[in-house]
């Protein structure tokens, strides 16, 4: 029996995959999208009031990856035995239609232009010797000017609310003075500042910094997007991160793309379909399709396809490349190979500020992307010379809606009681009268921080788990400490009665037990050199030219911004070049 043939098969059903599917069906291709988790739609997962149940949602992790089927192993250093990540904690990949794009918060950034050419930029300003030994600092191989039309396109699909600074060379508003020129304004005005964000804005401004409203894919008004999909205005209910927005206010593939895509006769979405491998021909330079397992019937099916797009979560894309034999696995000892190289994360620490007991911060009020930030210590916006580190952090108040179980479990510690009457008293005081200021920073890539296949543990399908070798390095710890030290005067000016400034400590290993962020990156990065990147600048595999790998796996460094906006722009960028060049003459878009 012949295999079913399709023009393109897409692995995953999150933002990257949904964008690619939309673009490829528009180009007239037949597309099958395979999602290993269940079907998810807002009328079901988003239905009020069950959708706002904290226990069932963020606590029991309704929309997240089921680790019983597949997980990763983690170690800090190469001489350790990596152990399985058995319980979701430090990072929370999504599962099911919409992927992480269903449970995300909605912070929707572009990119700091210098971050795309960070290696070149650091060398130009400080010389090559400024880069520490063992740091794999690299450029993306693409510029902001090239990506700008695709950032613009994504914002109009996501219905992004924001405050622009410069449009077509003209300063038009109070947006981020460090942000680059835009071809157009945000499609929606910025969300209102919460009380906590408004006092941060005032204090930061008085301190001489440059506060701006976070760009948010939480609609500040009713909106109909490019594809005719509709969003309702956000009411600051606070159920963004970890939830399916019941108001259709937070952008998701499920709300903003799939309703249009599902009507296209050339598009087929198959949920509960776990892709086991990309099938390659004997030369290992051409993919012939993919093989997946129906997780309900346990039946294996092979699809034949001309084009294969990997759009799964960052580390699942890398895992699929490794188990399929796409490209050469990275070896940190010989410093050869590319798949697994430049695995990165972000340095995120949250500092707390208490206000007088007459002041209520109402922390349950919020929106995932709402808040006020400063970029004065992000990217290359400040002088790193005397500081001696690479990278930076935006600093912000992003009150996204704090729920009681999360607040209670997280309260206490660090020398204060974690139970009993004193704990209870502090918890209530903290919940009512405090706010959080985050340093949401970059994380550089290092030669001995990488992804490969674990030698011991396997998933339920019998395949080796992906192994993470990751810890915090001195450069990033010092960057975080410096930026956190800048928070103190701002907090004081906000009227703090008490503060708890939290930063990474020298020698502190990565801890898998506490949530930090789901912004994992790298492992299959883009670049202009096949010796140091798995993908070319169009996110096409250097080794297997009919495979494109879309996601934060392409980031050579972890940047200070949230990654979704960049992922979406890269998806539209890759799709544009597939449509305009690749489909006319399939093959490598860049000569190796």
């Amino acid at each position: 029996m012949g295999r079913t043939h399709v023009d393109a098969v897409i692995v995953g059903a999150g933002w990257a995959s949904s964008i690619m599917a939309k673009e490829l069906t528009e180009a007239g291709l037949s597309v099958i999208m395979l999602e290993r988790g269940p079907e998810r739609t807002t009328p079901v997962e988003g239905a009020y009031p069950e959708s706002i149940d904290e226990l069932r949602g963020a606590v029991r992790k309704r929309l997240f990856q089921n680790l019983s089927q597949s997980t990763v192993t983690i170690r800090n250093t190469m001489d350790q035995t990596a152990l399985p990540y058995r319980q979701l904690a430090a990072f929370l990949p999504g599962e099911g239609v919409g992927g992480a794009g269903l449970h995300w918060s909605g912070v929707h950034f572009r990119v700091a232009p210098e971050d795309l050419r960070l290696r070149s930029s650091v060398i130009e300003r400080y010389g090559a010797k400024f880069i520490p030994e063992g740091m794999n600092l690299q450029d993306y191989g693409v510029t902001y000017e090239e990506l700008e039309p695709f950032f613009d396109k994504a914002e109009k699909v996501f219905g992004t609310s924001g405050e622009a600074y410069k449009v077509q060379g003209k300063i038009i508003g109070n947006g981020n003075v460090f942000s680059p020129d835009r071809s157009d304004n945000f499609p929606l005005p910025a969300l209102k500042d919460t009380f906590s964000a408004s006092i941060f804005r005032d204090a930061a401004k008085n301190a001489g910094y440059h506060p701006y409203a976070l760009p948010a894919a939480n609609a500040s008004r009713q909106y109909t997007n490019t594809y005719g999909c509709q969003m309702g205005p956000c009411n600051f209910c606070g159920y963004c991160s970890g939830y399916d927005c019941y108001l259709y206010s937070k952008a998701s593939p499920n709300v903003n793309i799939l309703p249009a895509l599902r009507q296209d006769p050339g598009f087929t979405l198959i949920p509960n379909a776990h892709v086991l491998r990309v099938d390659l021909d004997h030369t290992k330079t051409k993919a012939t399709g993919v093989t997946y397992l129906d997780t309900k019937t346990r039946k294996e099916t092979s699809l034949s396809a001309d084009l294969v797009v990997l759009g799964a979560f960052q580390f699942n894309n890398v895992h699929l490349m490794l188990v399929s034999g796409i490209g050469k696995p990275y070896d940190p000892v010989s410093n050869t190979g590319t798949v697994g190289r430049n695995f990165v994360y972000q340095t995120i620490t949250s500092s707390r500020v208490w206000l007088p007991s007459s002041t209520y911060t109402n922390q349950f009020v919020g929106a995932g992307g709402a808040g006020v930030a400063i970029d004065d210590f992000n990217s290359m916006n400040f002088d790193h010379g005397p500081l001696g580190f690479v990278g930076g952090s935006p600093v912000w108040v992003n009150q996204a809606g704090v729920k009681p179980i999360a607040a209670a479990i997280g309260a206490g510690g660090g020398g204060t009681p974690r139970w009993g009457s004193a704990y209870k008293n502090a918890l209530i005081n903290t919940y009512k009268h405090s706010l959080v200021i985050d340093a949401h920073g970059s994380n550089m890539a290092y030669r001995d921080v990488y992804l490969d296949l674990d030698p011991t543990w396997k998933d339920v399908y019998g395949q080796p788990l992906l192994r993470m070798t990751f810890t915090w390095k001195d450069n990033d710890i010092r960057m975080n400490q410096y930026v956190v030290s800048r928070i103190e005067p701002i907090a004081r000016a906000m009227g703090a009665t008490k503060m708890n400034l939290v930063h990474l400590n020298a020698g502190q290993p990565f801890d898998t037990r506490n949530y930090q962020t789901t912004h994992l990156g790298g492992g299959a990065i883009m670049g202009d050199n096949p010796q140091t990147s798995a993908l070319n600048r169009y996110l096409q595999s250097w080794d297997v030219s009919n495979v494109f790998v879309i996601g934060s796996n392409a980031f050579p460094q972890g940047m200070g911004y949230n990654p979704t906006g960049m992922v979406a722009a890269l998806a539209y960028w890759a799709a544009h070049h597939i449509r305009t060049t690749y489909l006319k003459s399939p093959g490598p878009l860049v000569k190796a």
Partner: protein, 233 residues
Amino acid sequence: MEPTLNRPLRRSFVKGLLGTTSFWMASGNASWTAALAAEAAHPYQPTFFDTMEYRFVEAASERLFPADDNGPGAKALGAAEFIDRQMQTPYARGENWYMSGPFQQGPANLGYQLPFAPRDLYRKGIAGVEHYTRQHYGKGFADLPAVQQDEILTALEGGSVQLGEVPGRVFFEQLRTNTLEGTFADPLYGGNRGLGGWIMLGFPGAKADFMDWVNQEGAPYPLAPVSIAGETA
């Protein structure tokens, strides 16, 4: 499998009415006061824990989150009932955790590495604490004065006690986490009775609409909480 909701009748009843304004107008306290009174007249019968285990969970959770000037403690809020009910969910059977071997211990920062699901942790943990308590204090945990119960919990939290196969600290964290869940989860799951946990924190519960309260210059939110089933305080 998603955790199942335990009160199907109430839930489907409420689901049918939620969209109507008259429901919100009419669902005053009367019916729910009656429901709570009915529960008080017929105390909850645990289905996972035996009598001794349930007394332990009630007593220990109350020390973790005690009644005081701020308001009710875990016992009055039904945390023990919540935990017992949770034991019947996939979560308690470890179905959302990666539970494939080999089970090898490592540095604490690499996370949980025991072969035990929450149900096992409670069975083994409670037996271990009772054994420890009888050995050192001559009585069961629930029969000790609060000061001694606190001593035992402090020892568990500090990691100086091993409960057979389960480190005391692991059991302590499991109990603390589930107690706080039972104190602050929607009452749908048996805890947070009368929305008492939310009232203390000033959390409005299932209101989920704060369009008019995005920035009121630090004034407290004025409305009392409501639960998913429409219970108000």
